[in-house]
Symmetry: D2
């Protein structure tokens, strides 16, 4: 194992560069994973643009696929050389939040054991996955062995977007026979569509203007794709549902327009499941909210993590219930990650997700 | 049975008057109930002020206690002379909404069986309870016999505020050991406090500036009452919870300030259970909402109705788990209901709820 | 409309005969439906054999597809001539059980509003569907219009076996990524398999010895089908799950062996969802039950009914999420229903379900 | 810190003796707790009698209250000298079971992360709490600081019987207005009664023949106590509920008679929540089980553990919602623990729980 490695480092707003970094030492509960494949997330672009602040010098990335290089002295149940993934969110296992089933808000080490977004550590509060090596904290809680026969790319969506997208469907408590709308069919919206399909929704309506994404949306389970650039999505969804509205509306963009449209298409008693990252205050229109008397639910979900979550998601992939293959549109070696960022940040060439291989 | 009766009728904004009205004929599924006690709700004041529109000539009121005078030809399982209540919300029993467990949004007769607020009929879409006689639609779904030994006043809060307040606690899914804040300790907030106590919350914080209500709040189960006129309720609740925030925050007023404060005191992963009737768009501050990544839930509840709900609430009263006696602060004969409206609308003399007896 | 009709009538154990019967008069809440297609259920065979007692002279059958011939005077929202189905279970809509979301145990007219199996009326406590005409009680609660474009046979499984099978998956609270075993792949077990697939189970194991059923089992969603006549199903399921056991085991036969095997393959914390009709006391082996300390759940489900349930199931069929076409293996005119009973009771010729058309 | 300590050690069936033992060394994730108070559980009596096998030489006991003596090298967030409790069940925090919210079946170190009863380690698979010092594994997951102002005896019931009893009420999903029966009012049944009361049950019926326990049962929340030695509890509960049966029946003894009676008093759609430890196969009477068609649920619960659970329970105690003071009927120094076992095993002198102080 070398002492130095390449890593994609946040320098200042507008600059993420590949640079040399010391391979980290690990503590007793950690593992060192040699990254074999990783990817770039929309959140990384927020970081790049300075919209989400992280420390200068931090390695970016939270979607690791790799091989265990070294295990902390107190870690049992794993072997060096095992192929593993870890979730984007790495709950400690022992915080009050984790023990309450809400590891995304894990506050291990804080007084109360809860911290908003505290489970998101990779590429946020500790060095991330866009590097040759990654320190995985609380390794026994977070390392999930990859089942035999699955390639890196097959499991690459599990750490974040599959978990997030399914999480949106799950938080919406979709039931057999539900009608569901999913606003935006980017990577997370597409996974939410797949999740809605998996949970038994009988009518799924994607909202998306990019034709290539509409095609994938249908492949992931959408029955209808509404092109919001050509028609009013609220009116069109009400038409498709014969005026009834949807049981569950999933917001997968993070904007006022989609949040509001999601609320407007909800039937009374319906659920708005929000996955978007909002950068501004949100407005709830009082009429769409039935003055607070419509028995509506608005729920938000941060990507669920932990090894059991990852195990389940990989089972879904292994069983061929969902195929995320179409989501990987481009591939780059780690050495070219700056080009990958450029492509992804500008959403050129129909990019959905890129695979980065050190 | 006389052919004419007294009823409190909405004439125009600013005017609800007691006038003569024909005792209604009933259809095969209806019942005619002779009202023995009813009350005035905050919503009735919204109607009085013209803030919530209803048809001119409508009888107001949705909280009936009375005696079955007459049963529709298809109604079985009841007897004339039985003492009964009906919920403020009268689901049909056969709409898709009712059959989905969401009778408050009952749309019997509509194409899809859902209609926002459709279950609220008394004093909204049909004549209400502030009268000598009340037609109860879908009587078999809605009439709940009063257990022996309970007085009218003991069950008078069941049709609306007890059901609503408990509904807020239930929608918050309060668990044993939770910390709960309830914003505003008016009649509904007080019942939400009682509901939180009944469900096992171990710390309950009421927010209220009126001293007399603070006293009742403690009697209903609050451990702390924060006087928002003297201290910032958000800061004070964070102090009481040692910086942790609350598991569930119940909004029982219907204003931006309380909605927002409720969100600000929530721990990550917590639930804002909203009971208020809002008259303006609501704003969700992005920081308090953790940019949509805090695993928060916002749920709204319209008073659950139907005879099974009423049966359960009366069981709670009969078992002395909750005593709503302190809520009835004033009593008027129906003949003086205009004076009662005057008192209640202006919140004079420490009024909480008034008992009206024809 | 004729005054007399043909109906399959229970005479005595061993004898169900086609005979003439008066077309029923309907009450204000009823509808008369002209049956266009119906079927025979395993329960009807229990009745035929005298294992489940019903009154002599009762018309059998609880799976109606037909056309509204006549509506009761108090029924609104429907038209004569509409194509409809009704569930095998017909909750009243207004019983305490229905209002509690448990219409299968509907006790309308009883003192408390609950009655074991009380929602099952067709072919049990009132005349059933194997006839030219059927009286549907509480029509507004139970009649579900058939969406355009669906044939009788496409919706024929909705009233009972699809609702029951899905109900078993739902009661098991199957989650994305679960491993599920379904014991017996008769009509109900096959629908439970389809339900498990619809809810996102990633590994589904059917247990069945009949080769033709194994083929359909795979088509409905099973990943593995264990032939219990050739191998021990408990051992084989433990092998398939690598010793882990299943998250949910569905019993769809009604025997001690399958109930017990279902318990033995459950992981700790798992759920046994039971759909079978048992004719004898059941034994829970203490070891498989972890002495009562395994956090196990055993849940039973009687076919959920009511028009909202039927609407949802028909949506699932219309959306092509599930195809029950392969379940209809034989077709008979009503005039030959005795032959159909003979075939079905003896399970000849690979029969799964028969379509009966008056 | 001395190198030797006193400990209550299982020698062979019939013999638990106080003997000297080496104070354990701790690993990086462990803590050493100096026990200040502990108690004896019914399960310990099963061990004493040889009915539940443990290794010879094992220290017994799973209900620790004490002071942190020493922390493992990887443990953060605690200080030596802190007063703490740990649950009877000590989930690892990082097993798949724990991460699924089912830490009682924690299988850390096993291949799949699940193991029946695997979370129960103290006095079962590792040395227990009836000693001067206790090694607490996975300390960060399990050590819960005692709030200021609570005495040892006030929190002594939290590690096991309060968690178990409340767990039975929670698993029964008791709702406001429910009617609940609790079979047996020993320490766990009494805590289940308290849990039912805390969750809002409006009628609670304890079943118990010992007069002193009946008195405490009423203090913990029972409205009725049925003396099964004087009247048939099934008949009496049906009489009290006016023939309706109960919504939830909690079994807190572990015998066929109580299990069966619990099932017989359930209304259709009700839940049997089982807490008992069964030593023989159980029989489900087919009639009481409505042939499997009654929409019944049977759920079992092993004492939930982990520091968040303990924190919540201590909050309940601190808020005076429940007072377990009456449960401690006897007190012994650790030196006299053999006498305590003798008293407790023979249930002499009205003993409920004993406090043991090293």
């Amino acid at each position: 194992m070398p002492s130095m490695m390449k890593a994609a480092i946040f320098v200042e707003p507008g600059r993420i560069v590949l640079d040399d970094k010391v391979v980290p030492d690990i503590g007793p509960l950690d593992a060192l994973v040699r990254i074999t494949t990783t990817t770039i997330c929309g959140t990384d672009i927020h970081i790049l643009k300075g919209e989400y602040p992280v420390a200068a010098g931090l390695t970016i990335g939270h979607e690791p696929v790799g091989i265990i290089e070294k295990l902390g002295s107190a870690v049992t149940g794993y072997e060096e050389g095992q192929r593993v993934i870890a979730g984007a969110i790495t709950p400690s296992g022992h915080s009050n939040a984790t023990l309450s089933g809400c590891g995304s808000q894990c506050g291990a080490g804080t007084r109360h054991g809860w911290k908003p977004l505290g489970g998101w550590r990779f590429g946020n509060t500790i060095d991330g996955a866009q590097a040759e090596y990654l320190l995985v904290p609380d390794a026994m809680t977070n390392l999930a062995p990859i089942p035999d026969g699955l390639t890196d790319e097959q499991v690459l969506m599990c750490p974040d977007i599959l978990s997030t997208g399914f999480g949106g469907a799950e938080a919406g408590r979709i039931r057999i026979g539900d009608t569901v709308a999913v606003f935006a069919q980017g990577p997370i919206g597409l996974c939410a569509t797949a999740g809605a399909r998996l949970m038994g929704a009988s009518t799924i309506i994607g909202v998306e203007a990019i034709a290539a994404r509409a095609v994938i949306s249908r492949a992931m389970g959408a029955d209808h794709v509404v092109d919001f650039s050509k028609e009013d999505p609220v009116a069109e969804i009400m038409r498709i549902t014969d005026g009834r509205g949807v049981d569950v509306a999933i917001e997968a963009l993070g904007r006022q327009e989609t949040f509001e449209a999601a609320l407007r298409v909800l039937r009374p008693g319906g659920t708005l499941s929000s996955l978007g990252v909002y950068s501004q205050d949100l407005r709830i229109p009082v009429a769409a909210f039935a003055a607070g008397l419509g028995d509506h639910r608005i729920v938000t979900t941060l990507c669920p993590g932990g090894k059991e979550r990852m195990r389940r998601l990989m089972e879904v992939v292994a069983s061929r219930r969902v195929d995320t293959g179409a989501l990987v549109t481009h591939r780059f070696p780690l050495d070219d990650i700056e080009a990958a960022y450029d492509l992804f940040a500008h959403q050129r060439d129909g990019v959905l997700k890129v695979a980065i291989t050190p």
